[in-house]
Subunit: 250 residues, 2 copies
Amino acid sequence: MAEREVDRSVSQTVKAQLALRDQLLSGSLRPGERISELQAVETTGASRTPVRMALVRLEEEGLLEAIPSGGFMVKAFSERDISDSIELRGTLEGLAARFAAERGVSARELEPLKECLAAIDELLRQVPISVDAFSSYVTLNARFHALLTELSRSPPLIRQIDRASALPFASPSGFVMAQSALPEAQQILIIGQEHHRVVIDAIENREGARAEAIMREHARLAVRNLRLALRNRTHLDLLPALALIKSATD
Amino acid sequence: MAEREVDRSVSQTVKAQLALRDQLLSGSLRPGERISELQAVETTGASRTPVRMALVRLEEEGLLEAIPSGGFMVKAFSERDISDSIELRGTLEGLAARFAAERGVSARELEPLKECLAAIDELLRQVPISVDAFSSYVTLNARFHALLTELSRSPPLIRQIDRASALPFASPSGFVMAQSALPEAQQILIIGQEHHRVVIDAIENREGARAEAIMREHARLAVRNLRLALRNRTHLDLLPALALIKSATD
DNA sequence: CCCTCAGCTATTGTATACATAACGTATTCA
DNA sequence: TGAATACGTTATGTATACAATAGCTGAGGG
């Protein structure tokens, strides 16, 4: 059997990118802070060339911002930036759902979606939901959204949705974890699951407009979810990505 | 007065990126073709490090595709990829128009849009339209779309629209030039101008849904525009960016 | 005659050295 | 005492040398 040498197999560039992203999302680097190449070289273990490649990629990803005089800084986001990002993603996923419905999807292709749905149903059965179950929910929900996106069969759209989800707070379930202790959370999850059910039904019946509308509504729910999380700051530390939010740090 | 040394002022990375993009869009590099760093170094005049940075950026931009075993190749697009990209951009611009309408825009902010509109009206007065006027139209139309995008006041959305427009065929008016000789072209321009008029009106009256709907319709017009262009291949050589289309080269 | 393996070449990935520009500090002059 | 300028230090931009890998070509065996 193959020995564990996963660490050897990845390129230095990828290693540096992952390491830097971790630092960004874990809050080791504060928003607005200038990110030093030399320092990044020390913390990632890679040399300057792959580190620079990683920095360029992270800038394109939206986590870093180029400084005119040279170098990069950690990007800072306002609350509105975040709610806009969520609505943006919802709009794109709405288009994906419409494409899926209009272009036709076989029963076999919908099967994985339905399995996801059933698994989430199972999780939501327990009241109140446990922390572990919450974690599973986040994974399953992300999977549901990814599968739905794939159904659009549109590489440009899939690509764009991936980029829109690169910002951690814009990705599906980004804020759910932040409020697992909140009483309203469970209700929000149940409504969200209902949306999932509707979009599958709409795609099955080739109702493009309905499929699109429900995904946009789904994103609006996520925005309400965000507002709720921001109003209960005590739970925010559960989601490290929040370190990037301007107003949460000032 | 300052001497002309614009060429000195830009960084090697930017220089390489622009040069490579030109090569890509002018068709010097065929879709699917592997792009050699060494060759890029020779043609751009920059050294390998800035060339590599430029390649990474162009990959993120969507013009290149990473090869798993290393290096990059020129990305190839299907006709559907392109029509999807146009519809995608229309959807995003629809959201921008809705944001502009819902969030309120002062009369002063709408002024540049109206100037654009009037300038285009002036151009469309001549029948049939001249090649020079067509060229002006493309510039003005791109400006109109850029101004509209700005009105959304949403940095994440603006950023996403910019990326969606990076693919040349997805950008506003991308195909207009390709069919300036076609009789249907003028009619399409006139309809498009009507859309521009309506979206301004909708934003002025804070009708978000109407503003969004008209921009999506506007994109659908662009898709019809594309189909028309593809059916009249004789005019396609007017738009070098078409070199990237798979079916146009096979 | 075809398939396979080995060696070579070419290209990419990585590291580092060098150049240049920007920022900070200290000193001097007003 | 404050401001401005000059110098030094530090960081980024650029270039190139070195290493590793993948693909190709040729030769040998089945």
